[in-house]
Symmetry: C2
């Protein structure tokens, strides 16, 4: 089995789902099971539930007081008080039964004590006054819940009051999750050379759980045709749905599609979506089997696009409408006409607008799934969307929390994560890293509340304020002071190439930062001063997006040197040759200083907890941290 | 301990919560515990989590193909193909490590086979082309999640990829739930005379679970001072929070507040809210103890208002903002200046407006909690709100599903529940029962899509159409035909009082329907024809809201007779003396017929499944069911 299917098809998403559902239709049927009401929270009723008894079960007192016979209280009034003897009434508390001959209740507050345990009343009781009639709340035989209803806390209370202790709920579909790949290693196990931690199956296990399924996760199956085939065969027999991860494309060791063709019907292999193209939709033994691609973002999208709707049908639900919000796109997005693209975005509310800022687009960038607030979908047959256009965003976080989030776009520093962690409950900080210049432009366009930046003014030799005045001429701005930090050349421990300064970068493998990053501009400034052309530096064109990414490349030997902050070098155990100290501050339009979440951000900068964490990290000076300077630009 | 505290205080809601939180502040601290990442779904991080390794762990192939040394591919081009020998490359699959001397990958698609296992290339490889650099996704030492973050499926995947297998999460607060009351009986147990099914504790158990707490529910404790006190003392020692249900007022057997005064500090006894006034907020052993009133709606509101925010503090969260929607109030609401009132409402989207229709207001009406879509809050110091005014509604259901809901306001019939149950997935039917006349007026005011009604035109002796033409003169309306149904006098089996017709109602205990109900208008019409005055009928003023409620009262002996539909009598095992047959139809403005959920409703009326259920129920004729008649009024 080493014959290769070189090409995947490129079927549009809707058509792929329709083909799959058509192939499944004859087989899908929601099942039900009987469970106890007290364990039914969040389960879905399999059939309508009718009350077995009345509530209240009998006419009962609605107040504390006495039960009376209404006809015997006639004539009582303010000026004509009436005394009831012990035979005329009985004391009752709220909820006590009112049985014949009694037909009314008089409240304790309206009673006056008389001799021989009698009571004096000063008003006649109307028949049925302060009596809760039988069945007032729930009438025996009435429908309490329709079928297909997700059971809430109050439903449990009413079911029990209506005499129901067990009910029929829809069975949770049993879903097998099979990771594959010879190189896959269980999390926490020893890592052999070339091994990869198997984590996708655990993400999908959690998605299935959220979707109301009952997941069973298998240990990784190596890339061997027979083992993959027998596992699929066995699972299709025992489970309601099978998700097999990785090996779904058309490579040398991608056996899944061949195994599925042997076992059943492959409805689709290859979908016009990105990420997620190498998805397989098949039916084996009447069960849906989905081949989920191995890149984490592809796996997530293949699950949400195909597995989730099928899981809902298996549970007897209609397809879920995905809640969309409208946002303004912060940067231009180019896309191919050939597929639908899902772009991860950060979403923030700045002024009255929701702003969507695109994140990394690679299928392997799982961390961007964590950082993202949602997906922006670019349709097939669209070449992309311009900055400033309105886009639909599929939110992956609570839309409400967006109101309390400080949106930061700009230069990267390790302190942003620390600050995000230390924000007080109810406020949060969301950071996108596009470099100093990119951040200031975003701020100018109203796409962020704050822009962290560190830009040297070549004329004055000072940081930040001159650039800010120049860029925001005529606007009321402020600078929230951040930290002073040392920039230097990061090298492997012991500095094996003996690099002493900028001039030595011409004789090593360099790794640069992306365009617009303050650290790159610093390099350019230093090179210019020394008359060195960028082309003299091997690796000048190789870009990394953060200080930590540069440090990781140096440590691993992929590069010999890279410019970055000392804190990042220290965190990675690298040596650093200082080339200057700079101010890393936050630009902010003055009007945003009023916002409660921005104030929380300033307080966090000033907090003792933050200072403590900075000291631990090292490489920073913090004298002015959190000071606010108003600047008339 | 039988001394009575006759009066509760009446402290405003915000003040009560502030007092309680002030008393708790010195004691509250969120705790954390270490758990496995694979079990961490929906848990909340106790501290920030940093990556322990890079992902990818090494430079790796981003494509299937061959790894090459980029410098050795220089010069290759379309017209200058280059042959690489087996020593110049190595075959790689996506994800395989790229180790020195290799520094680039050429895709399989760009290769051509040559002799001796060599390959021909037609383009030079740029350094690092198709290579995923180490740490591209996750850099060792970077923050993956901040503290206080609720863990989602994608977070689990990234944590594992970042080398994390265990993490610190906030401990779930342990909450004791203690129902009290000597009359309380466990659900499903034999019911002694005067017993009440204990269900509140199970509703609250579910609320605690939804709120992220770990509930422990106790069996009901009888109303005995010493047992209540010792249970409270023990629970305050062992749990993080205690909720004790019922016995919280100032009645003869309400011991809770006395026990709490003996054990600790009672911060509040009596809150200016309705329902929910007899709430106790206390601190024992540094633990919050809440005395939750025994009426189900009061219990729910006391939980949401006081227990939920405290549970959130214990879990280390900020108080949750409650999501509100704006809706138009369908009926006037009168309220007292003395307290904040929570009125249950049905909410529906009719045209562009959300409409809130008030439901039953009693504290005991648990069923209305199930039927409600949310709460409308009337502030203290407000006398109420007029029909048509805009009100804030706290939704208790998914706001999205409101878009697909047919809003029905009008006359009650058992078929409404059947129809609600049979609506196809993705559409639903929401019914409010206000009688025929009330429904038509609601329809006229744009508060409903359809109005079920049965109104006899006294002049023509025909049902529904004349009234509709009269009421909606000039509008394009339609009638969706419903069912024919027999109205009759419901009596206990065997007809012990020998009632033969309307005239005999003067010699029995009658139970009537509410004003505006078609069934009441039918009685009035029949009485008038026979020259009988309403005052001649005992119980004419006693009102029930549904046919089933009338039937329950008759069966229980609370009344001897009541007018209602034969189906209700049959469901309750009563005899019925027919007085007429009538048409129960649905009025609808013609423009609503287009709506997909209204079409689903019509289809449901016509469905075989519905016909089948009607036959089982009995008492209906269904020849025209689901037919649509357009009516120019």
């Amino acid at each position: 089995m080493s014959n290769r299917t070189l090409y995947l098809s490129n079927i549009p998403v809707e058509e792929a789902l329709q083909r799959f559902q058509a192939a499944l239709r004859p087989h899908i049927q929601a099942k039900a099971e009987q469970i106890e009401v007290i364990h039914a929270l969040d389960r879905v009723t399999g059939e309508a539930v009718y009350a077995r008894c009345n509530s209240p079960m009998y006419n009962s007192a609605a107040m504390d007081g006495i039960a009376v016979i209404s006809t015997r209280t006639r004539g009582a009034g303010e000026s004509t008080p009436l005394t009831l003897g012990t035979g005329d009434y009985t004391a009752v508390d709220t909820g006590d039964p009112i049985r014949p001959p009694y037909d009314a209740v008089i409240m304790a507050e309206d009673l006056q004590e008389a001799a021989d345990n009698g009571v004096i009343i000063r008003a006649a009781a109307a028949p049925w006054q302060h009596v809760r009639p039988v069945g007032e709340d729930i009438v025996q035989g009435e429908m309490i819940l329709p079928s297909g209803h997700t059971i809430r806390p109050m439903d449990i209370g009413v079911l029990l009051s209506g005499g129901i202790t067990e009910l029929s709920v829809r069975t949770r579909p049993k879903v097998a999750i099979i990771p594959t790949g010879t190189e896959m290693v269980e999390p926490g196990a020893d890592m052999p050379d070339g091994g990869i931690i198997e984590s996708n199956s655990r993400m999908i296990e959690a998605l299935v759980r959220h979707g109301g399924g009952e997941p069973t996760r298998f240990a990784p199956v190596p890339d061997e045709y027979e083992r993959i085939k027998s596992t699929l065969q066995e699972c299709a027999r025992q489970f309601n749905m099978v998700l097999i991860i990785a090996g779904t494309s058309a490579g040398r060791e991608d056996y899944t599609v061949h195994a599925l063709r042997d076992l059943g019907e492959v409805a689709v292999h290859g979908v016009a979506m990105k990420p997620g193209k190498p998805t397989i939709l098949a039916v084996v033994d009447g069960k849906p089997v989905i081949g989920v691609p191995g890149y984490p973002v592809s796996a997530y999208l293949a699950y949400e696009t195909f597995a989730m709707p099928v899981l809902r049908s298996l549970s007897g639900f209609a397809a879920e409408d995905t809640p969309l919000v409208q946002a303004t796109l912060a940067r231009k997005l180019v896309s191919s006409l050939k597929h639908r693209e899902y772009v991860r975005v950060k979403v923030g509310k700045v002024g009255e607008r929701l702003i969507a800022s695109p994140l990394a687009r690679g299928a392997g960038a799982a961390m961007s799934l964590v950082r993202a607030d949602g997906f922006c979908v670019i349709d097939r047959n669209s070449e992309g969307m311009n900055a400033g256009s309105t886009v639909d965003v599929l939110l992956s976080r609570d839309s409400h929390s967006l109101e309390h989030t400080v949106v930061s776009i700009g230069s990267h520093d390790l302190i942003l994560d620390l600050l995000a962690d230390l924000m007080p409950p109810g406020a949060s900080l969301s950071s996108t890293h596009v470099g100093s210049m990119g951040g200031l432009l975003a701020l100018k366009n109203g796409e962020a509340h704050i822009a962290p930046f560190h830009l040297l003014d070549e004329e004055t030799g000072t940081y930040n304020i001159p650039i800010l005045k120049n860029l925001f001429a005529g606007r009321k701005m402020a600078l929230i002071k951040g930290v002073g930090r040392v920039q230097g050349i990061m090298v492997r421990p012991g500095n094996p190439l003996g690099i002493k300064g900028i001039a030595d970068l011409t004789r090593c493998n360099y790794i640069n930062r992306q365009r617009g990053a303050g650290t790159r501009l610093l390099l350019d400034y230093k090179l210019k001063k020394r008359g060195i052309a960028p082309s003299e530096i091997t690796g000048y064109e190789r870009e990394a997006a953060t200080h930590m990414a540069v440090a990781a490349a140096v440590r691993d030997g992929g590069a010999d040197a890279g410019l970055g902050i000392r804190a990042a070098a220290m965190a990675m155990g690298l040596d650093v040759i200082p080339v200057g100290e700079e101010d890393y501050d936050f630009a902010i339009p003055a009007e945003f200083l009023e916002l409660a979440h921005v104030q929380a951000f300033v307080e966090t900068l000033k907090s003792a907890a933050f200072q403590e964490k900075l000291e631990k990290l090292g490489g920073y000076t913090t004298e002015q941290c959190g000071e606010v300077m108003l600047i008339d630009c």
